[in-house]
């Protein structure tokens, strides 16, 4: 029989995040600080809207781009939150932000064009770029820059083939954010070199030092940026699978084509519930953000006490402590921590080679959970130090 598989697909590595969690689910008393998913339930008023929508029999397809009402609300939301000006025709509602990343790249890339991917970052950029026949170009972000992308770093990797920069802030896994001045520096390079940006802003609601700034709000950038956002992180709606892309109509139109043939439309029920999320849930989101912030402070304080180095992250719900001083790889550290203390974290290397020497720890868990985990982590660190 002939080889039934695509070489391109076979060459792609499966996600490094999941590996540990298969072990965790079978280990008694194990605590996982690994999954990038809010521990809150979706606010009841959103769930209730979903139920109501089913009772009403709204079970048909929506238009390919998504419900008009939802796209209008997305425009309002992006306007009032981030000062972005979009028309409903510039919005595509997708199955999670991940779909938007995938089809955004596919709509923009010709074979061999280069996509710049800063790392450490979310695991899907690289495979999506590869599947879109792009040549991925990695920029290794540095801890001393708080894992921000600098204009200098960007300039160094731009070639004539560069087409798209993926800008993943607030960042998973580092928790790093970029402020307006820093984005302006990036924007200058982008405009000068005439390239485009896919800005993954899925964690935009979760910032703890001033409001999130979208690069698309910087003059001259809206026409060359696809903003990606969604409902999973801000509204604790991961399972509803709903995200969106906002950008120039010219690009969105091509994305709609791929979406129309591959997906048809995002889940109708989720779309109706999402309208409620955007309209009436500011207070609920605020409460969740406050809770995340309290946990973030708790963890950073606890790291200091147990002697784990960590730069202060101001976004998402991750901390990214350094374990370099213990003289082992992230993978070794994480494996031993799981086996010896039953705490699961993700090795930084799951998010790129430059994540070596770091761990991603999620604080989307209750304080009680975090407390127990910190105690165990503290024991582990103490043991490592006494052995040395």
């Amino acid at each position: 029989m002939r080889n039934p598989l695509s070489d391109k697909v076979v060459a792609i590595q499966p996600s490094g995040i999941r590996k540990f969690f298969d072990i965790v689910s079978e280990m008694k008393d194990a605590i996982s600080l690994g999954v990038g998913e809010p521990d809150f339930d979706t606010p009841w008023r959103i769930r209730e809207e979903g139920i109501y929508s089913l009772e009403k029999g709204r079970t048909f397809y929506t238009s390919n781009a998504g419900l008009k009402e939802l796209r209008e609300e997305i425009c309002n939301y992006l306007g009032r939150k981030y000062g972005l000006k979009y028309q409903p025709g510039q919005i595509l509602v997708t199955v999670g932000g991940s779909e938007a990343i995938d089809i955004g790249l596919r709509a923009m890339i010709n074979p061999g064009e280069e996509v710049i991917i800063p790392q450490p970052s979310y695991v899907s950029y690289l495979p999506c770029a590869v599947l879109a026949d792009a040549k991925p170009v990695i920029v290794n972000l540095k801890e001393e820059n708080q894992f921000k992308l600098t204009a200098q770093e960007l300039r160094e990797v731009i070639t004539d083939k560069t087409k798209v920069l993926i800008l993943p802030f607030p960042n998973n896994p580092t928790g790093g954010i970029m402020n307006r001045e820093e984005l302006e520096e990036i924007a200058k390079v982008i405009i000068e070199k005439d390239i485009f940006v896919i800005s993954d802003e899925i964690y935009s609601e979760l910032t703890y030092q001033g409001k999130h700034v979208s690069i698309a709000s910087i003059p001259g950038m809206a026409e060359r940026t696809i903003v990606i956002n969604g409902f999973s992180k801000a509204f604790a709606m991961t399972g509803w699978r709903l995200g969106y892309a906002a950008g120039p109509e010219e690009i969105i139109k091509q994305m709609i084509k791929i979406h129309q043939f591959a997906i048809m439309c995002a889940p109708t029920n989720s779309q109706f519930a999402a309208v409620e999320a955007l309209k009436n849930c500011d207070e609920e989101v605020e409460k969740m953000v406050e809770a995340y912030n309290q946990r973030r402070r708790y963890l950073l304080h606890a790291f200091k006490e147990i002697g784990l180095d960590c730069f202060e992250p101001f976004g998402a719900f991750y901390v990214f402590p350094s374990i370099k001083k213990f003289g082992m790889t992230s993978e070794e550290f994480a494996t031993r921590l799981l086996n010896e203390e039953k705490v699961a974290v993700v090795p930084g290397t799951a998010f790129g080679d430059c994540g070596e020497g770091f761990l991603r720890i999620s604080y989307a868990y209750s304080i009680d959970n975090l407390k127990t985990a910190i105690m165990r982590l503290g024991n582990f660190v103490k043991r490592l130090e006494t052995v040395d």
Partner: protein, 149 residues
């Protein structure tokens, strides 16, 4: 900041002060001081425990009693209220808008003891025009806590 402290204490009155200080980005001594000050000002009036008595051997019934009264010249509702709330059986008392005046919440040992209290103590107060007693059959959510009842 006071509101943030209160919101946290309202959720968990026994939260570790050291943790709370870290979570709210405050100095621990300053936090303790602020809480003591709010206790002094009676913003914080006490620390309760939320108990599901149904899971104990103790028999308890809760009743809501709607009471209509004739307010007194010069005292309005306040002196009648005082006569009612001084009974230990009364756990809460509210003056209401609408069709009746007071909601009296009573925790008693049995329906009979509650009924006896109403007929012998509450209904016999001169200014009380009428009472209507409603017994709680099942609790679903108490003080924001669900799933325990």
């Amino acid at each position: 900041m006071r509101e943030k402290i209160l919101a946290m204490l309202e959720q968990n009155g026994r939260i570790d002060l050291k943790d709370l200080a870290v979570m709210l980005d405050m100095d621990e001594a300053a936090l303790a001081n602020e809480i003591a000050q709010m206790e002094k000002e009676h913003i914080i009036c006490g620390y309760n425990t939320i108990i599901n008595w149904d899971k104990t051997t103790e028999e308890k019934v809760t009743a809501l009693i709607e009471v209509k009264v004739t307010p007194q010249r010069g005292h309005g509702f306040d002196s009648i209220a005082e006569r009612i709330y001084n009974y230990n059986e009364v756990s809460s008392l509210y003056l209401m808008s609408g069709g009746f005046d007071f909601t009296v919440i009573i925790e008693g040992k049995s329906m009979k003891s509650v009924a006896l209290f109403v007929s012998s103590k509450l209904a016999t107060i001169d200014e009380v025009i009428s009472t209507s007693t409603h017994f709680v059959l099942k609790k679903y959510k108490v003080y924001g806590m669900k799933g325990y009842w």
